[in-house]
Amino acid sequence: MEQKLLTKHIPGMDPMNVQAYLDVEGYQSFLKALKTRPLDIIGDIEQSKLRGRGGAAFPVHMKMMSMAKQKETTRYIICNADEGEPGNFKDRYLMENNPHQLLEGMLIAAYATRANKGYIYIRGEFDTPIKIMQEAIKQAKAHGMLGTNIQGSGFDFDLEIRSGAGSYVCGEEFALIESIEGKSGRTRVKPPFPTDVGLFGKPTLINNVETFSNLPWILSMGGETFASIGTESSTGTKLVSVSGNVKHPGVYEVPFGVPIRDVIDTLGGGTQNAQKIGMVQLSGASGPIIPEYMLDLTIDFDRFEDFDSKTGAGAIIVMDDQKDMFDILKRISDFFDHESCGKCTPCREGNVHMSKLLNKFLQSDATEKDLMNLESLSRVMHQTSLCGLGQSAPTAVLSTLKYFRDTYFDRIEHPQEGGRA
């Protein structure tokens, strides 16, 4: 079931030694790119139909093209390595195990969009990935892959690592930009989009770790071949973070189109003590919670649009049937309450009230009126928040209102002891 591209060379590879990457034809795609017209590279990526892996699934070539067309010559590339979505750990895995693949992907994107400076914004909690990426940059420089006039091509590119300081919202592209600029991480109103006015007011291409890591593969196999992997709407592979009540939590790489049930049973080894699955949360804290009978759903961007969400970053959090739904929802709500940047009202105030309402259900103190309030509050937050954080904070509640509605009424009518959230 697994299909390994991005993780193919990881077993046995020393991430601290650039030679290990060079030995598996590492940096060959970048060297090939240096001899290709930038627009042809973007064309190849367009053919691959690669979509962003950070959560929004935006077509990668469109961002690149928008950046390539800018008149301004100072441009930036940013790698979003602020992986903070609960249940996601695949970017950490990629950085810790194959750092040069990411650097190569960034180099290809930089060359194709004519950017000369890049940043990798890594969350502050990722002590090990930061150290590994620093060493990788040092070694890439020593091997002439970074710096001025790279490989005699006339192309200059320099790369810096910036650390986060404990803020989930900085994974949102404009909050991230603000953070790099030395400010609190509060988003900006869009448009303009970062490819028009981004970091330091200059055109900026931002992509996720996994997205950049795909680029060397697209260039080496060709966009068309890449597009034959996965499904019509979602090409290539997806790194899935499997966690929760499973026997074998971990990062698995599968082609798009694989049913979630198979990932849980075959790769995750099923539940820990053969309990039944009660709920599964997809994407992470910002994703929908679905019941067991929906697990034949396949991993595919378009299938996920039913939930007003994409595959998100690709997390599968498995919860056995012993877990209290309100305990889980309260924890999720507390997370967003803490992480809201406070800039827009629906998110800043909405999360406070959502948490209070969920606590009433948890304490078996809720009425039907609370249920109605929770439902309308969720919709307002989803529709009116400024950025993805506030828009997706109520996804878990909205999805459970749809698929576990009886559980709400049950708690209103039959008070019982909840969990410890």
Binding site: G87, F126, S163, A165, G166, G182, K183, G185, E339
Partner: protein, 151 residues
């Protein structure tokens, strides 16, 4: 000491977060004082309010003295699902402190943290710059003893 840290950095506003992290990490009591905030602001030619705003925004920064070792326990769902020993409760009992409190000897401060991005090793926590995974009561007890021994 602050002076020697600051001079390592260019006087660019975008270095602010890096500087704040560096300064705080080098202090035993793990916090940023008002005087330090003012000095950093002046070094980068920023209003003090700008720096204070950033300090209060990011969870990593504290304006109150903390213990030598800051313990951050993940409170999010993937860890919770595997936290049968209740780590927070275990640590609170052993150290005799509540959340956001510091032990009398100034060794430990206990804080909650959002997801550490290591859910395959749930439940997880961080002490200083080290992340510990697959924790249970025994392992936490041993870790706390180990850190106490480091004094």
């Amino acid at each position: 000491m602050l002076e020697s840290i600051l001079t390592k950095y260019p006087k660019d506003q975008d270095m602010l977060i890096e500087i704040l992290l560096d300064v705080q990490n080098q202090k035993t009591d793990q916090y940023l004082s008002e005087a330090e905030i003012e000095q950093i602001a002046s070094y980068l030619s920023l209003p003090t309010a700008h720096v204070s705003s950033a300090v209060s925004f990011y969870t990593f920064f504290s304006t109150q003295p903390r213990g030598k070792h800051v313990i951050q326990v993940c409170k999010d769902v993937p860890c919770y699902l595997n936290d049968s020993d209740n780590l927070v409760d275990t640590i609170q009992k052993q150290l005799g402190i509540g959340m956001h409190e510091t032990t009398e000897d100034g060794m430990f401060t206990l804080e909650p943290t959002s997801c550490l991005g290591i859910c395959d090793g749930a439940p997880a926590m961080r002490i200083g710059e080290h992340t510990y995974t697959k924790l249970n009561k025994d392992r936490v007890t041993a870790l706390l003893a180990e850190y106490r021994g480091k004094r």
